[in-house]
């Protein structure tokens, strides 16, 4: 770390600053600190400075020098937090230098807010010590399961013996990748309204429709999408309800919405083939 020594300071500050405000060589590792308040508090406490009368010029300079060392290696966000504090310190310093009216009130001290924050931060540092202590004490108590299990007896572990031959055989069982899917440009567009009327037509004949029936004969994505939107729309209108027993199971559309289904007994049970799994029909 390169820090300005008092001699350097006296040569390049010809405006005759008070020696008290000069920079004392002060070596600290920035990594140690949680943030700007932590560093500031350290600078103040380590030099036995009265927190209610902080020599802002001196502390600002020390703060700037300390962060200048570590800023380059710091993530941008963290660096920003230190720079923000440096800027506030400079602002307070400037306010202190400005001529003020004769009648000085304590509340007007530009340092007051900073002091409040530092004291609050220090208070929570004390709490941190209490928590650290509690954590260490808790760490000396051990519960069930702490001592590791005895390894299982030899015979109980399945042998894992794979030879190259087994491996190649397993590899040969992997199916060939399917031929690339040929993409067709849609020859005719389909509308949600068409699918809605298809659903209504089908419900005239059956109380239950397999969702696939709405688009499979056409086999295009446009049909599937339109059928899907139509099903959602009709479900919203309580014309039908959509059921699926588990993920990836067939999707069934039942005539009558959830309202109708919950109102009466379960009398609209499916009539066509392909009975869905037991219990699936009741909401």
């Amino acid at each position: 770390m390169t820090l300005a020594t008092p001699t350097e300071r006296s040569t390049n500050t010809p405006r005759g600053r008070s020696p008290l405000e000069g920079v004392q060589p002060f070596l600290v590792e920035l990594d140690r600190f949680q943030g700007p308040l932590d560093l500031l508090l350290h600078l103040i406490r380590a030099q036995d400075i009265d927190i209610f009368d902080i020599p802002i010029a001196r502390i600002t300079r020390q703060f700037q020098l300390t962060i200048a060392e570590g800023l380059d290696d710091m993530p941008l966000e963290r660096a920003g937090e230190f720079l923000e504090m440096a800027a506030s310190l400079v602002r307070i310093k400037a306010q202190l230098l400005l001529p003020r009216p004769e009648k000085l009130e304590w509340e007007e001290d530009p340092r007051a807010e900073l002091v409040r924050r530092l004291l609050e931060y220090e208070h929570f540092q004390d709490v941190v010590h209490v928590l650290e202590r509690a954590e260490a004490q808790r760490g000396r108590h051990f519960g069930k399961g702490y001592v590791p299990d005895r390894p299982a007896p030899e015979g109980m572990r399945p042998e894992l013996a794979v030879e190259l031959h087994d491996f190649l055989e397993a590899a040969s069982r992997i199916p060939e990748p399917p031929p690339p899917v040929r993409v067709r440009a849609p020859t005719r567009s389909v509308t949600v309204a068409e699918k809605v009327s298809l659903v209504r037509r089908l419900f005239e004949k059956a109380k239950r429709i397999a969702f696939e029936r709405l688009f499979e004969p056409w086999g295009t994505r446009a049909h599937a999408t339109a059928a899907f939107l139509a099903a959602l729309e009709l479900a919203r209108q309580q014309v039908l309800r959509i059921e699926q027993s588990k993920p990836f199971a067939p999707i069934w559309l039942f005539a009558g919405g959830w309202v109708a289904a919950t109102r009466g007994p379960n009398d609209d049970a499916p009539v066509s083939d392909g009975e869905p799994e037991a219990g699936e029909a009741s909401p």
Partner: protein
Amino acid sequence: MRPEQIVEATLFASQTPLTTSELARADDELTSGIVSEAIQALREAYEAEERSFQIYELGDGYQILSRPEFASYLERFDSVPRSPYLSGAALETLAIVAYRQPIGRIEIEEVRGVGASSVLRTLTDWELVEVVGRGEGLGRPLLYGTTRRFLEHFGLRDLDELPSPEELPVVLSGLEDDAVDAPGDASEAGA
């Protein structure tokens, strides 16, 4: 079977703290009150017999843990990962949440002077803090509070066990030279 024996067997078999009502589920005859009495009786018995373990109160539950004097022996078996000690940033954030809850992220950041979103995410993942509500301000910010796991991690019975702001200096000066005490149990100090 006597209630003490049932409670003891249940606590013995458990890896986590159990509340009195959870313990009472072991038998139809048990109530939370009977369980509390049984725990008290067991504690006194362990104390009198100088057992190497005791029933400790963590959060609102009870757990059988080894006594701190035996830590050095047990630590030789330390091949299983234990919950690691928390980082400075995590402790700082927890300290603020513990004393100011419910509290939003912005307020935490104001006290710490640094960002708190990633540390809050970690603490939420570890279930040491949780979202307890939403504030009134702009965007109805999430408010955080400490959890039961927080108490368990620090060996606390409840939040009142943390010193009040006025007591802090006294407690801290006392910490310098005091011996290791049991978590959540002041009654058996000096044993």
